[in-house]
């Protein structure tokens, strides 16, 4: 576990929009180790997807800009790679699974053709060889009778099967690192569980590291070793899954956990977090969460809290815990 694969250091991403400057990711720092699964949790607009896209260098520049920070993948700063090196990295070392498999696959090509394309681009295989590899991959991700599905188009697959295709494409070039951006959000609950299970077994089998992005705490609880919670562009809490669920420290994490129904305790009413997410174009001074925080103090309105280690491996950015 001590072998860091991906290190984000003080990553700050801005978007220069017509209405003003929006800081989507502000000073995010975390490390993902080899064969670790890292869950990135937060509500829509909290910056988790932008964080993941920065790692893939998929932020459109302009209007986006990576203002500060480094992203180290196996010791190399991703932000300084040439386009050529980045292409190699994307295909062969880091792969990504998207939320909406229907639109992330090309509608005019057969599924087999598309996976084979990826295989041929990255592994330089011949047509026939590539086809064998694709059939193998389709088998691996649990697509029944791959040979007959090879020549089907995306619209002929169900949602779950599409996500399996997506996964086969991501795994096609033996990546060591996988980024899954809400891979189960667009699926039925029952399919969600099988896809989650599939991703988990693939990670284990191929000994990969994973960043799992979701807004569903229940999903990360089962899947991830470590969890980072994001709120309004900041990483507010970071820690091992068990520790975080047992002993949440940041008022936002506490609020999130309180707003989920639980089967093991008797609760009549859920406690929602009051208020709504701040306007990211004009964020509040100090801690971004203070307008909604039940424990807000004077200092919270003035100073942005820094991420501090409060227990072994458990970090929190809150003035309550200093």
């Amino acid at each position: 576990m001590a072998d860091p694969v991906l290190q984000l250091e003080d990553l700050t991403v801005c978007f220069h929009l017509k209405r003003g400057q929006l800081t989507a990711v502000d000073g995010v720092t975390f490390t993902v180790h080899r064969s670790e699964t890292f869950g990135l949790v937060g509500e829509s607009g909290s910056g988790k997807t932008v964080t993941a896209r920065s790692v893939m260098r998929l932020i459109p520049i302009p209007p986006g800009e990576i203002v500060r920070g480094r992203i180290l993948f196996e010791g190399h700063n991703i932000l300084q790679l040439s386009d050529q090196e980045m292409r190699k990295l994307r295909g062969q070392h880091i792969a990504m699974v998207f939320q909406e498999p229907m639109s992330a696959l090309n509608p005019v090509f057969t599924v087999g053709h598309q996976i084979a394309d990826a295989v041929r681009t990255n592994l330089g295989m011949q047509k026939k060889e590539a086809k064998e590899r694709v059939l193998e991959l389709m088998q691996l991700v649990g697509i029944p009778s791959p040979a007959s599905r090879y020549d089907n188009y995306v619209h002929e697959f169900s949602g779950g099967m599409r996500q399996r295709v997506m996964l086969a494409m991501a795994l096609s070039c033996n990546p060591t690192f996988l980024i899954a951006d809400e891979p189960t959000t667009a699926l039925d609950v029952t399919i969600q569980a099988t896809i989650l299970e599939l991703i988990r077994s693939m990670i284990e089998r191929l000994n990969m590291s994973l960043i799992f992005i979701t807004h569903n705490l229940g999903v990360v609880a089962h899947t991830c070793d470590t969890i980072g919670v994001m709120y309004a562009s900041h990483l507010v809490e970071l820690g091992p899954t068990d520790e975080l669920f047992a002993n949440p420290l940041h008022p936002y994490t506490v609020g999130l956990l309180k707003s989920i129904p639980r089967l093991d305790t008797q609760t009549k009413y859920l406690t929602p977090i009051t208020g709504s997410v701040c306007n990211m174009l004009e964020p509040p001074q100090g801690c971004k969460f203070h307008p909604r925080c039940p424990h807000a103090m004077d200092i919270c309105t003035q100073e942005i809290p820094r991420l501090r280690e409060v227990a072994s491996g458990h970090f929190v950015a809150c003035h309550l815990h200093t």
């Binding site: 998207f98 005019v108 681009t121 070039c173």
Partner: protein, 314 residues
Amino acid sequence: MAKATVPPTWNLDNSPKASLAQQHGHGWHALTNAAWELWRHRLATVGAAMVLMLLLVAVLASAIARYDPVKQNYREMLQGPSAAHYFGTDKFGRDIWSRTVWGAQRSTLISVLAVSVGIIGGIPLGTISGYYGGKLDTILMRIVDAWLAFPGILFYLIAATIIQAYKLSLFWNTVGLILALGIAQMPGMARLVRGSVLAERERDYVEASHVVGEGHLYIAFRQILPNCLSPAIIQATISLGFVMLILAALSFLGLGAPPPTPDWGADLNLAREHMETLPYLAIFPGLAISFAVLGFNLFGDGLRDILDPRLADR
């Protein structure tokens, strides 16, 4: 409580007829819509048949034409249609049926090649402009704007006059015409493709292609472009008819092939002086032009319905 008397809103009848009725409402409206749809598809089929016929005639010209189209025969001048000469003969005694058939080959060949030139130039231009965007797009599209703003007929006239002035052989004259007609098709095609690429570029699969490490040109031409081809195909089909019409107009003005090349427009011009006494001289080449252009237009409209279902209801 009173029992609900409202009939259920769902319909278990899944037959195509039922779904058509559901789509278009009920009663008279549905009927006219269905009739319209049938009619449209019939027209498309008719268009396809006309195009096919034209292509057949063009390919088999040497077998169908019964006389040499340029050979003069002063013993059989200005004859009306007969068993020997289906469409009659002109003032040089040339068989009009043979000239029309060879004219079909010439028209088809020129418009197919000209539209191909337009496609070969326009599609890459539009794809690159749409995919890379930014300054490059602005520059390329302003060039296209200027190009489109130039009056088409003027361009054709100037080009044809220049070609004419050089007194080239028939082959090079034809090549020149094809290039002139083709270049004029490029900006429209580029504009069309750029529009679709622009919309398609934002789709997730483009990002997914980046993620698996594919290069820009590969993504632009192999991933995005195939999704943008249907409007280009429709446009190309309709352009075929348009180019034929322009070609006939240029030949009519004497700016086409040097005589005695069989050519619809030139024959039409030749028929002018006998218009009042021997109208069939003008009718047959004229009909041939109308037939070809109508065929391509109907076929193109039909393709639009088939390839672009979003436009079908308009």
